[in-house]
Symmetry: C2
Subunit: 499 residues, 2 copies
């Protein structure tokens, strides 16, 4: 029996959902495998139409989906409405990318002499990998869950998807899946294009299925490692794309603190405490000059005036307390201020902690998932450059600086770039733009991949290159036939736009 | 003490080379780490010039390098000359790709409103990963070894390279490394751009170095698994790109056998026995109609008339005998014909084995590295479609068919495509063209990657995406500045050619 919990009250109740038995997991994966060749060979126009239909269905069911998600996540309605919009936007962006067709990386080398002898006709493009298992996260019940970026990018690539419903929002998972499945069926997608399983055991069984070709995962390092161990035992290893853990350092230069300290204090408060701090791009450590009293005073005032927000589940609540206490006891940070008001359910109040940058250690920079930021106070830039090395490599790093500080900026960028996937200037890392040039990834332990999970290039994760040598035209995909002009292609080494 | 062996005689002698001690491995990796930022930020023109200089140096030292390789590999002079030319061609092709710049995947999304609110300016491009460890193969002492595709693609990406000298050709490794290092120094490349280590223990120590960011590997599954286990124990996992094992099925339709059986028999002989059958793309199993006597008679005659060729080392010699015997004893194949003449050193004669396609099993389709092909005789296409499932997924699959057989061809392509990385029509899988559209990869156990190790896109293995949000122009790479037109870019979703 699958249960659901309201984080606002902590009340758990039973649902009508059952944990998916192993045999059913196998059957679902098998149906996905049967759908795979049809999806792989579907036209780009057909697949773009499917993605658009799924987006429209999400829009149409927004009120019901948001209501269900509110009851399971404790997240506010506007936040969830925006997130569902983002899910639909993601489907539409991938539809655009599929229609455009660059993602195929189509290339043709006509037969020609080479220094090693006659070269045959070679044609290359990317092909769908096969069924993808998707493990969403607790903190984005839409955009990183059933109707999230892994699902939309895998479908865009031409891969069937089997999602594992998140235990923190099973009813939202069920409802979103029903919306997607209804739209896919109405569109005429093959049976097996979409599947869902419930329960931890079913998720583990899913990853072990021979039919599964790749796993998209957003969640904790521990959960990822348990799934990677299952992959290690498979006869055929498969790619595991994990978005795992991120502290997201933010640095404020003396110039920026002087010019707009209070404004940064407000911005930082909004960024670290929004969605109860449960964002993978939440700034967790902020380097601030010792004399930046305007910034710190503003931040402290905002924190003191803030009330409790519920965390997503009991595990996150308990971790939050444990890690906060550890940051103080082992990391030697002090609690500078907390919010106020009575907490209920899984509620917590925002926390701002403080440390001298020169006292930073790995124990002080552990990720605290929730509304907590550590202010690292510094006297000179060398302390920041050194302190940044104690922060684990992250999805993002953020720099607030002024026009006259280009020398300092260059030094800081050189220190931050090797340890992040995205550099944010004079802004905040939360609130990810979904677009062609986005990259949501980063060095271990932020991810274990050289790929993004947000933005158009997320597609590449679920595709493999394939080459045809001296192939008769009738076996070539349309995009590799001589007369096709529907996609950009590299022909004899020269990139050509679609015509 | 490192030894070298002449496969033609089996004679082993000592060299002046020493196994690299662990401390020296660490120092070499550290030098590579120090070179990494300079290489990463080098201009594309500078790096293309470096690659061209390395190519020119290989050409200039060809006689000496080929002579050394002959003494260690037993491969014939023309084959080694062509291979060294190919190595130089690979460096030049990557120089061309670096100058062209598409591989950066540069993208700019200007700030713009989105359905989720204002979207910041986002710019994305690929950055060099860092020092790459390269493990070459025994069978290509140049093109998949010290001056091989992994080395040239990693340098093209802007990554320092540390090669592990292959135990089958240490002197060739040393000589090729000296040529590359001399040219790199003369060009002004940073110290640490290139490094080399000797000995199995040094190779293992290299993979464990924190400074190493990725591993390129060509060799056996067992050796790969031992290195992957070391990666599993690292604090930070790193990508391992392995090109591992491949049986390369080849199918001859009734039409093709009737129209040009003798010609295919000759071509198949050349392809399976060239370089003593020690090519990762060697066709190992050929499906032939039962009545294709012209083809089989020609093949058998060519085999009987052929003499011995030395295998690369004692391990390959011993494996060849063991696997040949296993194909007969456990795979139930029969030896149809062998070559003749006295063998010396590590010499073996070509073998053609035969089996009924309906008797095929995994035991009959084990990879026999060396001059051996198994003819699987069939009565109808269903036997081929079923038999193909017993052949492990491979780098290539080859189909000989006639114009009138498009229905049969479609069925065979559908069966072959999911289990290969390249489909060859009416030709042979050996003799890989080095070009933009090449793909040398395939499903497990052919490789463990969704990437190629040959051709321009091999670059992607050693790059990671990075995004800049609202970045001041002075921190952006040149290729992401507004006024740059030196590379193709996607601007606000629209692909634009370089100007």
């Amino acid at each position: 029996m699958i249960t659901t919990t309201d984080p606002s009250t902590g009340t758990t109740r039973e649902t009508t959902l059952e944990a998916t038995p192993d045999a059913e997991v196998a059957a679902i994966a098998e149906r996905a495998a049967i759908a795979a060749p049809a999806l792989r060979s579907s036209t780009r126009d057909w697949r773009a139409g499917l993605l658009d239909a799924l987006a429209a269905a999400l829009d149409a069911h927004s009120p019901q989906l948001v209501e269900t998600a509110m009851s399971e996540t404790g997240l506010a309605r506007p936040r969830l409405e925006t997130e569902l919009t983002r899910s639909a936007v993601q489907f539409r962006l991938f539809a655009e990318a599929v229609r455009e067709g660059s993602y195929l990386e189509a290339a043709i080398d006509h037969a020609a002499p080479t220094p090693m002898g006659p070269g045959p006709d070679m044609r290359r493009m990317l092909l769908a990998l096969g069924p993808v298992a998707v493990f969403g996260s607790s903190n984005f019940p839409f955009a990183f869950s059933v109707p999230g970026g892994d699902t939309s990018s895998a479908l865009a690539a031409g891969c069937p998807v089997v999602v594992k419903a998140h235990s923190s929002h099973p009813l939202t998972s069920q409802a979103a899946f029903a919306v997607l499945l209804g739209a896919a069926d109405a569109y005429g997608a093959p049976a097996g294009t979409l599947g869902i399983v419930y329960g931890t055991a079913a998720g583990r069984a899913l990853v072990a299925q021979p039919a599964i070709s790749a796993v998209g995962f957003t969640g904790s390092l521990a959960a990822a490692e348990s799934l990677m161990a299952i992959i290690g035992e498979r006869a055929e290893p498969i790619p595991f794309y994990g978005e795992l853990s991120s502290v997201n350092p933010l640095v404020v230069t003396p110039g920026a603190a002087a010019a707009r300290g209070a404004q940064i204090g407000e911005g930082l408060f909004a960024s670290f405490s929004g969605s109860a701090g449960q964002l993978c791009t939440k700034p967790g450590v902020a380097f601030v000059p010792r004399n930046a009293t305007g910034l710190v005073d503003t931040l402290v005032a905002k924190v003191r005036a803030s009330g409790p927000q519920p965390l997503l589940n009991e595990r996150i609540l308990s971790s939050f307390g444990v890690i906060r206490d550890r940051l103080v006891a082992e990391g030697r940070a002090e609690v500078l201020a907390t919010g106020s008001g009575q907490t209920a359910g899984f509620g917590v109040v925002p926390h701002v902690l403080r440390i001298d940058a020169r006292d930073l250690s790995e124990a002080a920079t552990e990720e605290a998932f929730g509304p907590l930021v550590l202010i690292a106070v510094y006297d000179d830039l060398a302390e920041v450059l050194e302190g940044l090395q104690t922060v684990p490599p992250s999805l993002t790093a953020t720099l607030h600086s002024e026009a006259g500080e280009s020398a300092e900026r260059a030094l800081l960028v050189d220190a931050m770039q090797p340890r992040a996937g995205r550099l944010v200037f004079d802004g905040y890392p939360t609130g990810l733009r979904v677009s062609w040039a986005q990259h949501h990834g980063g060095p271990w332990p932020a991810t274990n991949a050289l790929h993004t999970s947000v933005g158009v290039t997320a597609l590449r994760r679920f595709l493999r290159p394939f080459a045809w040598q001296d192939a008769p035209e009738d076996v070539l995909p349309r995009e590799l036939r001589d007369d096709d002009t529907s996609v950009p292609r590299r022909v004899d080494g020269v990139l050509r736009l679609a015509g």
